[in-house]
Subunit: 181 residues, 2 copies
């Protein structure tokens, strides 16, 4: 599954052939169909797995952070600091799939909408706590701030893929986080 | 050219077949090759044309706006207000192509990097004027604010494609613009 996920992530859905999958999974064509069904089923499973993994990691990170705002900052740091050039440039498998397949693939559109809502709910819960503790401004409701933070994170997955400089990424991180206070 | 552009925009590069192009352009396969070269050449021409069109429009809009900040607001409005569900959901042809093809296609990566830099230069020029006129804060250099605004715009092309609500889009627009002041 992880091998298939990495392949779809790197190449996109349409450009990944059954031959590519057979090679990556070290399976014959017939056992690939027996085990995973067709290419589309395998892709949807990979995207769902990715979605759940990201949401679990983000939820854990936010829960374990010393303060709510520190958790949000950590999400930006994990995205923008200390990653390799290749993973920066691969972007986010969900963002890539949204760009490639929504809105014409209804299942992918549903998975993407659920991911976006769930991610923003996690952010909103932390931002509500951050507001209660005086870490962020109360001028905007937590849901509005969550939509704003989520948008900045989605943007970063595109601009970093298109060669944004370290200085540009730092500016995006800093202005976005400062504006919450 | 516009027919080919719309097709690549809607379907992505890999999913667009020569048959699709032949149908859309009302050409025979051989005259398509004679006129435009291969699929990749046609795609690169479409992406370059799109890039130049967006940059020309953004430059004009910023130049003609009553104040520099009003121009930036207009870019957000044009993106988030009064568009149809389909064009919202198609996203941005450049963002989609970045998601699908960078960094492994070096030519697309170059076109995307040039587009990103040029767009941010236009924004930075307006933001410098806005700062001089007191419309935006001088706390951040224009280039940093430009990277931040550009990132929010790229994010919107993804979140709107993945079904962001009107309230979420309004929140993103409002918090992003307020934070410049």
């Amino acid at each position: 599954m992880v091998a298939a996920l990495l392949l779809f992530w790197r190449k996109g859905y349409a450009a990944t052939s059954i031959e590519d999958l057979v090679d990556a999974l070290h399976l014959s064509r017939s056992s690939l169909y027996d085990t995973f069904g067709d290419k589309r089923t395998l892709f949807l499973e990979a995207l769902t797995f990715y979605s759940q993994t990201v949401l679990t990691n983000v939820g854990k990170l936010l829960q374990e952070s010393p303060t709510p705002l520190a958790g949000i900052e950590k999400i930006f740091d994990d995205l923008t600091v200390g990653t390799t050039a290749e993973t920066d440039a691969m972007g986010c498998f969900m963002v890539n799939s949204i760009a490639e397949l929504t809105p014409y693939d209804a299942t992918v559109t549903d998975i993407a909408a659920l991911y976006s809502e769930s991610f923003q709910q996690l952010l909103a819960k932390s931002l509500a706590r951050a507001a209660a503790q005086g870490e962020v401004s109360k001028a905007q409701p937590p849901e509005a701030m969550a939509a704003y933070v989520f948008n900045a994170l989605q943007g970063l997955r595109i601009v970093m893929k298109a060669g944004a400089t370290r200085a540009q990424v730092r500016a995006i991180r800093e202005i976005t986080l400062n504006s919450l206070r």
